[in-house]
Symmetry: C2
């Protein structure tokens, strides 16, 4: 990863098509290195020139008038742009063409609570399958899109094996960008259709997902990629901020209150770290009362490098070769793994994993209790929640929010082998009576 970043960084300096001087990204004031704190002008760069640490957005946040800010947010649109004053986007973002994701349902999951032994009224599912392309990726892509607009990019791109491809293709279509998305050539047809239907260019790469990523890094450093915004590479600092909106929404939907416990899936780990950042911002802005909260990370056993490091007490994450049905979480070398470990330990949370069978069971559990059909990543968080409660690590008497980041329609294969009709009968009352279902 480090090597790729260095290379990307060096080349991006040449490619910057706009700088802070003519860029309006609202309260975003600079890029700041997460490791050494060095600051850079806003631009399509993602790694520190000094220490190669990841860059993130620094803000001039509207502190000092929490009541005014809260009213402004509540009067805003029913999507992520209600939080525009806290995001790297121009003030008039809500009027620009994009998919307007967010403000998804926070479901009070009383049936699931009963099954898991959680106190009634204390368990919530933040259901991001309600986003326009049915995954949380719409949140992050919407941010990257605004950055791409600000920097004068005309093509939106990414490497992807699924959700991200659709989110980029759809967002580019709405916003009038060209899109060019790279995928491994042997993806299932369903995923290819979801990525291709929005009419952008879709390029199958003969190789693995790692090959696709390596190719994209090369492309960013080449004149061929000029004018291209790779949402999860050269626009990553902006892109990643989209996950903060999950924190904002959860707290606002709880009545401007911090939850006590959150269970969040880990792919690269970025989402978890940004949710923590969002919660901290709400505290600093006075929008919620400051109080402790615990963050729990969830992985699939077949790709559990962060969980393994947490349990072993390590500060670094040893890469794994993924082998799990939770493909949207299958990042064997998660860039933000160490930060996730920090957060889980600092907040008194944990990182846990469940095996594929538990993932499938959890998808079905959530579906039959709450009518929410989650993708495998949702099975991971629900499964981990169950496991953490059983182990006594998660307190069932406290307000707990579990994230479902995607839609079961996209990972039908996970449940198909074990999900079918109760009975098949002739169309007669006798046959129905014999089936014993009346």
């Amino acid at each position: 990863m480090r090597k790729m970043r260095r290379k990307g960084l060096a080349s991006m300096a040449v490619q910057t098509v706009a700088t802070a001087k003519n860029v309006d990204l609202g309260p975003a004031s600079a890029l700041s290195c997460r490791e050494c704190g060095e600051r850079f002008e806003l631009g399509p760069i993602f790694a520190c020139e000094l220490c190669f640490g990841p860059l993130e957005i620094a803000y001039d946040l509207p502190v000092g008038d929490p009541e005014g800010l809260r009213k402004r947010i509540e009067a805003g649109p029913a999507n992520i742009w209600r939080y525009a004053p806290l995001l790297p986007v121009p003030e008039d973002v809500a009027g620009k063409p994009n998919l307007n994701p967010g403000w998804t349902k926070l479901v009070q999951a009383d049936n699931l609570a009963r099954e898991l032994g959680v106190e009634p009224g204390k368990l919530f599912v933040k259901d991001d399958s309600g986003n326009p392309t049915h995954s949380f990726k719409d949140r992050v892509v919407a941010q990257a899109l605004e950055a791409a607009r600000a920097f004068g990019f005309t093509t939106l791109s990414c490497s992807s094996t699924g959700n991200l491809a659709g989110a980029v293709g759809a967002a580019a279509a709405r916003a009038g960008f060209r899109s060019c998305v790279f995928i491994p050539h042997d993806l299932e047809q369903g995923k290819v259709v979801m990525a291709a239907v929005y009419g952008g260019d879709l390029v199958g790469i003969e190789g693995t997902y790692d090959d696709v990523n390596r190719f994209c890094s090369e492309l960013i450093g080449d004149p061929l990629g000029e004018g291209w915004g790779f949402v999860n590479v050269n626009l990553r600092p902006y892109y990643a901020e989209g996950s903060k909106t999950l924190a904002y929404e959860i707290c606002e939907q709880l009545g401007w209150r911090l939850p006590d416990q959150l269970v969040i899936p880990i792919a690269s780990g970025s989402q978890l770290t940004k949710i923590d950042k969002g919660l901290q911002e709400l505290i600093k802005l006075g929008l919620v009362e400051d109080k402790p909260y615990k963050i729990f990370g969830a992985q699939a056993e077949g790709c559990s490098p962060v969980s393994a490091a947490f349990k072993a007490g390590h500060d670094v994450v040893r890469p794994q070769k993924p082998n799990t049905i939770a493909k949207s979480l299958a990042i064997g070398n998660p860039a933000d793994g160490p930060y996730v470990l920090d957060i889980a330990r600092r907040t008194g949370g944990a990182v846990e994993d469940v095996d594929d069978a538990q993932v499938v069971d959890a998808i079905k559990l959530l579906a039959r209790t709450e009518g929410i059909f989650a993708e495998t990543a949702g099975g991971v968080t629900v499964g981990v929640t169950k496991k953490l409660i059983e182990a006594g690590a998660l307190d069932p008497s406290l307000t707990t929010v579990v994230l479902n980041t995607g839609d079961g329609l996209k990972t039908l294969d996970a449940v198909a082998p074990t999900t079918g009709p109760t009975a098949t009968i002739r169309p007669s009352l006798d046959a129905f009576r014999d089936a014993g279902l009346a």
Copy 2:
């Protein structure tokens, strides 16, 4: 149809488990025959005892204080229950466990408008793929569920080939009802999974969809079906009212204004008639200014009995055997066909159809212009809109709303054969350059 209704009616009189005396369904005051006007107490009946006409809900609507009503609605939840004062549901419905569908996006479709030659800012897509199970069926099932609760039913049921099965299964799960859904035994595995994953009973019937329907009619008349609410049979009058919420939302999202033209898909025709009913109610209540609007019905050529009748100037609809990829619209003998004809003619609209190739083209057109991946029914409405504009039947200078009632993820097969990668290449810059996509 008539024969089935008669049979259902006779048997339902025995089965009624609650009557108007102890039923609280808010402003719903009675059932009223659409043909002869005879009124009946609220109950799980669906056909007139006198003339066998369809029953619909009569209301005591809150007339006389439009400003107060508007404020009450605007202060309500971001789902269909903001309109509870206009629906057959108890006043406290928003606090009861259900999927809380609705308040889906009304997308200003400027890119699509440009392609279709519609004036900028005048074309909108009401995108019901944002509902919990990603189709408009969540709206109608939510109403049926409240009626089922009011009548003391404990099992929610339906016959279905797709969207409805998932909507019923999910709603029953959330609300703590048992569900038992009937499908043809030879459905595609994907649809079976979507219907079965919510954990209710799913029964495959050896036969066609017509056989499934006939079996359900028998079951309603048999003690085996006691305590069962069939959302689209004995709860149909309540169920159908859910479509009114599309009219309410469209007008509120336009700033409490009637659109000039609406393009609505026709399956049974119920949705179109209820949207008209909803618009009329808003006028009567003084929530929108009274002005003319035109309603256009959309069918697939392979199942276009209403379109054929409209074009031939007939008042009755001759049944067809469906043969189209738009399976969610494939009702060859649409119960509300004659009412649809009335409305199209009364409002100065029309009924039109497009062939399967045009449906596929329209799905792709909507996806590449607006980033909305519609199911085949959405391809039908967009395709019909294009055709009507080209024919001069739909005025491109007026405010037009096109409905997308479902999600492309559920009908991937429709676009899969013609949707794929632009190119497949080796992971090298040279190969990418050669592909001519930079």
